[in-house]
């Protein structure tokens, strides 16, 4: 497979064409907004967090195929997981995108398709936008700022590396 096809796998394009998690979430109690100033990608997450478990997530992402697909996969994956589990998952995805994992873990499901992005370093931020926004939103919620607007910048991104 040529690297372009590695990045734009059919799974990715499918999520891009019909993103999951677009259903409005009236019960949501956490809102997080992320922005990638270098691309202009915008994401808004609404999370229904109850008993420390993410009951459901609404994702509204305006951006490139990679950021939209990543957000769509997030919506599919994090439902029913605890904050700690989601945090762990986000770390694994980051490692995978940075090429720090020998192999793509089996338990990632569709998310494993994001592995191809690692060959395009400038696009890694796109794949991470949804995840960084989610984790920061949950962090802020835990710290007592349930509606804190979160701006994810490229500089911000480096802090996590």
């Amino acid at each position: 497979m040529m690297p372009l096809d590695e990045m734009y796998r059919e799974i990715i394009l499918d999520h891009y064409r019909s993103p999951r998690g677009r259903k409005p979430l009236p019960e949501a109690n956490v809102t997080a907004e992320g922005h990638n100033p270098s691309c202009g990608d915008d994401i808004k997450l609404e999370i229904e967090l109850k008993d420390n478990i993410l009951q459901d997530v609404h994702v509204d992402c305006k951006g490139c195929a990679i950021s939209v697909a990543s957000g769509s996969m997030l919506a599919e994956t994090v439902k029913g997981k605890t904050f700690a589990e989601v945090s762990e998952l986000s770390k694994t995805i980051r490692k995978m995108l940075k090429g720090e994992l020998e192999e793509t873990p089996d338990n990632l499901g569709d998310l494993g398709a994001l592995a191809g992005v690692r060959q395009f370093p400038v696009r890694i931020k796109c794949a991470l936008l949804a995840w960084v926004t989610l984790i920061e939103g949950l962090d802020k919620y835990s710290a007592g700022h349930p509606d804190g607007k979160i701006v994810v910048t490229s500089e911000h991104d480096h802090e996590h590396e």
Partner: protein
């Protein structure tokens, strides 16, 4: 795919234009970088509005400088220093001639357009802008001609007024007589938009500004590589542009300022080179242009910039402009064959330069750029440092292809073919 699929790239809507006065094959051969392959394809460089490629003459001039005359300028009393000083000052004289014959001391070398504009904001602006004054800034400005004024206004309690744009990508001048008023101290406007490609009526706006006693600064970063420039005829007070967009090296910018304005302005960078006498009781500053060139300047690249000016003059700026008008016309026609593609800016090539911004209804500009790169085609995608303009368009980003002297109709065809293939690839 659309019904356009039946139309191959071999039968475009019009016959490819003949280059006017330019032998593009010969021009191409002067640019060593263009001979390479990118991802297995011939490099098609369509990002000259970001930075141009450099002809062999410019690359050699940098090597020659370091091989034969490297030394610090102005106060050296040895042969090398004399050579370097002479070449550096010769570039100033040449630049003054290139922009229509201004006085050499009205040409200040900076690091780039951004620094040129900041120089004016921090010297003239600090001295002349007060609380309640107005600065009129167009809605299509690059951040380089927006943020310095925004920050100056914030420091001074001055007001930024917006010179709006129309949906066709022109400045909306219908309210210009009230937008420029007695409170207006400066009008900041680009000569050519880096997003729309629009060529703005600088001469008319300058006249309006001067009627009300305001000054005008034109951002010439996009215009200077492509148009014959006559600053006296334009009637501008300040004009800023960059070497690297007009075949020269990076790290060299030009600020033109009318002599009496520059003379009245305080220095920008304080230090060596820019002084007359220094003592513990008193410091006096050098005359123009040294007053604004504190510290050792970018000697090598300024000198190599002269090779770029000579190269452009060798082609003739009228010919450069004619070639680009032809290629832009061809590109606009061919791109309009692609169904759904939304092209920004004026359609009439008499009103625009060669930067063409476009969006696909289904594919994000970053995906467009990544896909095209895979075909060896370099374009730009993003907000183009013009977020107020993107907001006006209601878009977060556009894709932009920009053409220069080394681009031909085959490059346009490669772009159009790749954009069609892209829509098939993404299945939209």
């Amino acid at each position: 795919m659309t019904d356009m699929a039946s139309q191959t790239h071999n039968d475009p809507v019009t016959a490819p234009p003949r280059a006017v006065g330019l032998d593009i094959e010969r021009v191409k051969a002067d640019f060593p970088i263009l001979t390479q392959q990118i991802n297995g394809h011939r490099l098609v460089y369509l990002d000259s509005a970001a930075t141009s490629q450099k002809p062999r003459e410019v690359i050699n001039a940098i090597l020659e400088y370091y091989r034969k005359m490297n030394s610090n300028i102005h106060r050296g009393l040895h042969t090398l220093a004399e050579r370097a000083t002479e070449a550096y000052e010769a570039t100033r004289v040449h630049t003054a001639r290139f922009v229509g014959g201004v006085q050499p001391e009205e040409i200040i070398f900076t690091r780039g357009t951004t620094e040129s504009i900041n120089l004016v904001a921090y010297t003239w602006g600090e001295q002349n802008i007060s609380k309640g004054d107005e600065i009129l800034v167009s809605e299509m400005e690059h951040h380089a001609n927006f943020v310095p004024w925004f920050e100056l206004a914030r420091r001074k309690g001055a007001i930024i007024r917006k010179l709006p744009i129309t949906l066709c990508g022109h400045l909306d001048l219908s309210e210009i007589d009230t937008l420029i008023n007695e409170k207006t101290k400066l009008v900041a406007v680009s000569h050519m938009s880096n997003v729309f490609g629009t060529i703005n009526p600088i001469r008319d706006i300058a006249a309006k500004a001067h009627e009300k006693g305001a000054l005008i600064l034109a951002d010439g970063a996009q215009a200077s590589p492509h148009l014959p420039i006559d600053l006296r005829a334009l009637g501008v007070d300040f004009y800023a542009f960059s070497s690297h967009k007009m075949l020269g090296p990076t790290g060299v910018g030009v600020l033109y300022g009318r002599k009496e304005l520059l003379e009245a302005m305080p220095p920008f960078n304080f230090g060596g080179e820019m002084i007359n006498q220094v003592g513990f009781d008193k410091v006096t500053f050098a005359d123009l242009p040294n007053k604004f060139e504190g510290g050792t300047p970018n000697i090598a690249d300024v000198i190599a910039f002269e090779a770029a000016l000579s190269y452009l003059e060798g082609l003739g700026m009228e010919n450069v402009h004619a070639h680009e008008t032809a290629i832009t016309k061809y590109a606009l026609e061919r791109l309009s064959e692609i169904q759904g593609l939304e092209i920004q800016g004026p359609q009439d090539t008499a009103e625009r330069g060669s930067a063409i911004s476009f969006t696909d209804p289904d594919i994000h500009p970053h995906d467009i750029s990544t896909f095209l790169d895979y075909k060896g085609i370099a374009i730009r995608a993003g907000h183009h440092c013009a977020q107020p303009l993107m907001k006006f368009l209601g878009k977060v980003a556009t894709a932009r292809a920009s053409f220069y002297i080394y681009n031909d109709t085959a490059d346009v065809d490669a772009l159009v073919d790749a954009l069609r293939e892209m829509r098939r690839y993404f299945g939209v």
